[in-house]
Amino acid sequence: MSTPLLSTDSLVKRFGGLAATDGLSLSVAEGELHALIGPNGAGKTTLIGQLSGELTPDSGTILFDGRDVTRLPVHKRAQRGLARSFQITSIFPSFTALDNVALAVQAHAGHSFRFWRDAGRDRRLADPARAVLERVGLGARADTRADALAHGEKRQLELAMALATRPRLLLLDEPMAGMGPEDSARMVELLQELKGGVTILLVEHDMDAVFALADRITVLVRGKDLASGTPAEIRNDPAVREAYLGDELEVA
């Protein structure tokens, strides 16, 4: 197997006495859609925080593209191609949908110490931004202020922004959070299209979506890797069934 695009080695993050990430070693291969599932409190959000750079692990390392990024700040990881979407929609409310994405395009276009030209008329920003909006199905809403978008549309915008930075790895933190079945289906369809073109680490509660999309699944329980494998392997893993899937079924 070639070197994974993203890997963690014995990652530990403690909050007081609680080990939210407990010696986790995870690897995401280039090109795959890797899903991360686990019950509430399993440490998924903490892990995303460490991968994106908002949290610093207590010990262990994170390698991205063969380089140690464990202590790299958020923006530098993003510049290297590690893009993320947020569980709670994180957009620029006073910008139009197009300008939200244009900001992401601009982030990828090099430094922004350009003080004079009107960025709103810069087609090098607007054209790629419009293309990404079309791709996620928001083309018709380009000129709408982001805070006036419907919830499902905001989630699409969230994804569009991550895509527009032309990432090597997409960290998607519950992209379907709060979505109705119709919007969810569209999101699954969209991720299906993206799959293969860009490496994706997907954290998601919607099991149907996860099993439909993932090449590999890692089950996280109490900060540890309980099991990793193909969807079929995970489905039939007795430990997973006991610790998690059965649980989930009861709740549902």
Partner: protein, 339 residues
């Protein structure tokens, strides 16, 4: 959603408002002369100077979300650049081996440089924080500079420096003439507004505005946000320094009180009153505050002698009403809701 105005319309309400404002500003000295009230020209000059300072604050406060409570410090430092070089010129001494000067083409850019150089470390340290800590740290720095100037006995300490000549500009510009000075300040304010307009709409400006909307997201997109905010802070410091140089010329005096925190508060009031994040609004805010300050006490004294010193009892409710009912301040009232 309200329908957006067609983009082809040439005379939108904000544009008409701008043209009217510019016409009033251009005609003001002539009208004042005709009324036999030359004092109005000096008052209007003061308004424009404070407008420049308020516009520079709006760049970081309104567009970057940086509530600097120490902006008057950079104004004061610009003023002191003029005052200190004047003092050396008048007694023939040198500063770091250089003679003093009153040449505006040297002193005014130096005032901007001084404002920028002061803003650099203040910004570098205070921008490590946001929100209330940022407000408090900028306030603390400004007060430090205030006390520094108070203690600067070589340059008048508490008493400041009285200037008995204004900066000189190339002929035919002689700013000892009130009308000429007024137009020079007006020209600089318009230039600053144009610069600010380009700035907030440029790529750089988008980064600053994006950081105000959602700083965490900006970092996740790959922006080293603090660096951009610091550059904006320094640019605002430079413009404030220029306002300080003009203020020194308008009042023919510089003193520590220019740096006092209450002056920084006045600048914030101007920005809020005129319309946060509108650039032109703070000009209206400066006019409103200084006109209220000029005329309300007089009127109140007429009603009851001595009442005038409590004029801020009028300012308070005006501010509250504007904040409650006009989100974009006076400019919002004048220009209407912009799409």
């Amino acid at each position: 959603m309200p329908p957006t105005a067609p983009r082809t319309a040439l005379l939108t309400r904000p544009r008409i408002a701008l043209l009217v404002l510019l016409a009033v500003a251009l005609a003001l000295p002539t009208v004042a002369d005709w009324m036999g009230e030359p004092f109005y020209v000096r008052l209007a000059t003061r308004i424009l100077v404070f407008a420049l300072a308020a516009v520079s604050l709006d760049l970081i406060l309104g567009f970057g979300g940086m509530v600097s409570f120490g902006h008057a410090a950079f104004v004061g430092i610009g003023g002191y650049a003029v005052g200190i070089l004047f003092a050396h010129q008048s007694d023939g001494s040198t500063l770091f081996g250089f003679p003093g000067t009153v040449n505006g083409l040297i002193v005014w850019p130096l005032a901007m440089l001084a404002g920028a150089l002061a803003a650099l470390p203040v910004g570098a340290i205070s921008l490590r924080t946001t929100g209330v800590p940022f407000i408090m740290i900028t306030l603390a720095f400004a007060q430090m500079l205030f006390y520094l100037m108070t203690g600067l006995k070589a340059y008048g300490g508490d008493d400041g420096i009285a200037l008995w000549s204004r900066s000189t500009l190339p002929a035919p510009l002689n700013i000892n003439d009130h009308t000429t000075f007024y137009y020079v300040v007006l020209g600089l304010l318009v230039a600053a507004l144009a610069l600010g307009w380009r700035l907030v709409n440029s790529r750089f400006g988008r980064v600053i505005r994006g950081a105000k909307d959602n700083e965490r997201r900006m970092a996740a997109l790959g922006y080293p946000v603090t660096r951009y905010k610091l550059v904006a802070f320094v640019i605002a410091g430079a413009l404030a320094g220029l306002a300080g140089a003009l203020l020194a010329n308008a009042t023919m005096f510089v003193g520590p009180q220019y740096l006092h925190w209450s002056r920084s508060g006045d600048l914030i009031v101007m920005v809020v009153l005129g319309g946060i994040g509108t650039l032109i609004g703070p000009v209206l805010g400066a006019a409103a505050l200084l006109l209220l300050e000029e005329f309300v006490p007089e009127l109140m004294d007429l009603a009851h002698a001595g009442l005038g010193e409590h004029w801020k009892i009028v300012l308070g409710p005006v501010l509250i009403l504007l904040v409650l009912y006009a989100r974009k301040g006076l400019w919002g009232v004048v220009a209407g809701r912009r799409p």
